[in-house]
């Protein structure tokens, strides 16, 4: 392979693995939107919260990693349930703007109070995977990106099975499709709303561990959440497969932009390109690649 091709290949591989990690976080957003029609602007803060909890359990309490992960999962599930009960349920049936504002408020709370409770310094979150890069042909990946990609794909398969085959998953799809009809069929709609938020909690916990060990845990971890929007807009807000494809595309676009454009404009295209792509998608096909097109009636 020529040098140019090798460079392109390593950019692609890196972008794809980062993209899968974006997809992991976007999954939490999609799950909530799919089931409850609520928009979670605090997804990044969920991830930050999970990261903070794991880091604290590991460093202060000194738990073994696996216990810390389990405890964090439990805490985030509880957080998801509680959140739905306290904040989202009173807002049922209110305009979409109200829910957006409420989750923005939630994001502000988590971002403000998190560092006060857990301390504002950056903590390392080390997973026992070493930091020897994994070599794939001409390119190499840090092991954490491989772990992140594997976790994302596993979760994607698990949720695909859940929504297609399991009883709860089918019920959840029914709720997403039409709340009133689902209720008439004897489905406890409120319980499935709570379940969706709890599932978002689980996904965020895993995302927090993966991203936290890559970037270090502090309040800036929440900024990862800003990348969720290009991913879900591109993929379609209510499509799990869309989150995965959107994540891959955004990751690759970001990586290619950083590789090929940065030398000309002096850096930072990585934070810029995804949003330009997103605006284009919003103008041309707002419901994304796999999203459901909504028709409004007066």
């Amino acid at each position: 392979m020529s040098e140019d091709l090798e460079f392109a290949f390593s950019l692609l591989l890196n972008g794809a693995s980062i993209g899968l990690m974006y997809a992991l976080i976007a999954l939490g957003f999609v799950l909530v939107y799919k089931a409850t029609d609520a928009i979670n602007f605090a997804q990044g803060e969920f991830v930050m919260l999970a990261g903070l909890i794991v880091a604290m359990l590991l460093s202060f309490v000194g738990m073994p990693l696996i216990v810390a992960v389990v405890v964090t999962l439990a805490v985030m599930v509880g957080f998801g349930f509680g959140l739905e009960r306290v904040v989202l349920r009173p807002l049922l049936g209110r305009p979409v703007v109200a829910v957006i504002m409420a989750t923005i408020g939630l994001a502000a709370i988590l971002r403000g109070v998190g560092p006060v409770v857990f301390g504002s310094e950056t903590r390392a979150l080390t997973l026992p995977i070493g930091d020897e890069p994994i070599v794939l042909g001409p390119a190499s990946l840090p092991p954490i990106q491989v772990v992140g990609a594997v976790v994302a794909i596993t979760l994607f398969l698990a949720f695909s099975w859940f929504f297609k085959k399991s009883r709860m998953g089918v019920a959840m799809r029914a709720v997403a499709d039409n709340q009133q009809v689902a209720q008439a069929m004897g489905i406890n709609v409120e319980r499935y709303f709570a379940l969706a938020w709890a599932m978002a909690g689980v996904v965020s916990a895993l995302g927090g561990i993966v991203w936290g060990s890559m970037l270090g845990v502090d309040v800036h971890l929440a900024l990862v959440g800003l990348k969720v929007f290009p991913v879900v807009i591109l993929g379609g807000l209510d499509s799990i497969g869309g989150a995965l494809v959107g994540g891959l595309i955004i990751g690759i676009v970001e990586s290619l932009a950083a590789g090929y454009l940065d030398p000309y404009v002096g850096g930072g295209t990585k934070d810029f390109a995804p949003y330009v792509l997103m605006i284009l998608v919003l103008m041309i096909r707002p419901y994304g690649i796999f999203g459901k097109r909504k028709i409004e009636r007066v």
């Binding site: 957006i100 109070v113 605006i279 007066v298």
Partner: protein, 355 residues
Amino acid sequence: MFHRESGIFKTTYSADMALYPLPIAKWTVAILALIFVVIVPLTVHEYYLSILNLIFIAVVGALGLNILVGYTGQISIGHAAFMSVGAYTAANLAVRLDLPFWITLPAGGLMAAAIGVVVGMPSLRIKGLYLAIATLAGQLIIEWTINHVPAISGGAQASIQVERPSLFGVSFNTQGHLYFFLLFFAVLAIVATLNLVRSRIGRAFVAVRDQDIAAEIIGIDIYRYKLLAFAISSFYAGVCGVLYTYYFGIANYEQFQLIVSIDYLAMIIIGGLGSVLGSILGAVFVTLLPIVIRILMENVGSLFFTTAEMANVISGLRLGVFGGLIIFFLIVEPEGLNRLWRNIRSYFRVWPFSY
């Protein structure tokens, strides 16, 4: 505002839309003017004047955002970016071309309005959630551009020093001078908004908010009015940014980050969506809150935290309390402080002989 007739006796539309609902309202306005123009600047200490000044600036921004979100129902999470557009436009004009404020201020507003229309363009096709995300992208892209283009941001620190404004050879250097400068623009913004919302345009905005497809069917050109709302709202934001620049003597992108957009959303939600008085109350509330928190923490918090931690704790708490208040008002009182004020007023309307 403070007074109320004993019932509704209006028989014409023009009476219902009048700027002064009662003849006595003119006296209230006169008394308020007397208090703010004569009594306050003569009696109030410089420090409190500086807080009042910040409130005046916030009032301009909050009114603008309320026109867009509260009256037209188009959400924007990118309002701080429009402020930065105004701020940097004015700063560049003032420093490079040495222009006075009465040119830079409208120029900053117009520039922000132009950018606002561009960012608002997706609103022609999308709304609600999608528009929120599009304006969020607008905020991030504008922030990034200002940060990465030295021609706009004036170099490495991305900040431009600006002289204080002057008029007829008098420079507004002290807080007392700035007080009159900012008061003028706050009052101008309030009167302009009051007149806007009772005009044909204001009614069209409300129709678009309540149900845009229905509005289109009764003959309102919703695209025109949505873009107009973005333009007007961004103009206010741009002016607000210019005022911040003159107030601090520096244009700096850090004053216009995403978090500021959220502050302004908090103002109009806490104050009351779709209400001029609500915007003012919200601006007062949100400007005073961090000051109250700081004073509280300096007195009580020093028992729990070291001085080094204090700055972090205060900024964290401020953000947390804002978030909490947004959620609280959304759930408990969606119409905000304005509604609370109206409730109090209608209680006293028949007091003490309520049945």
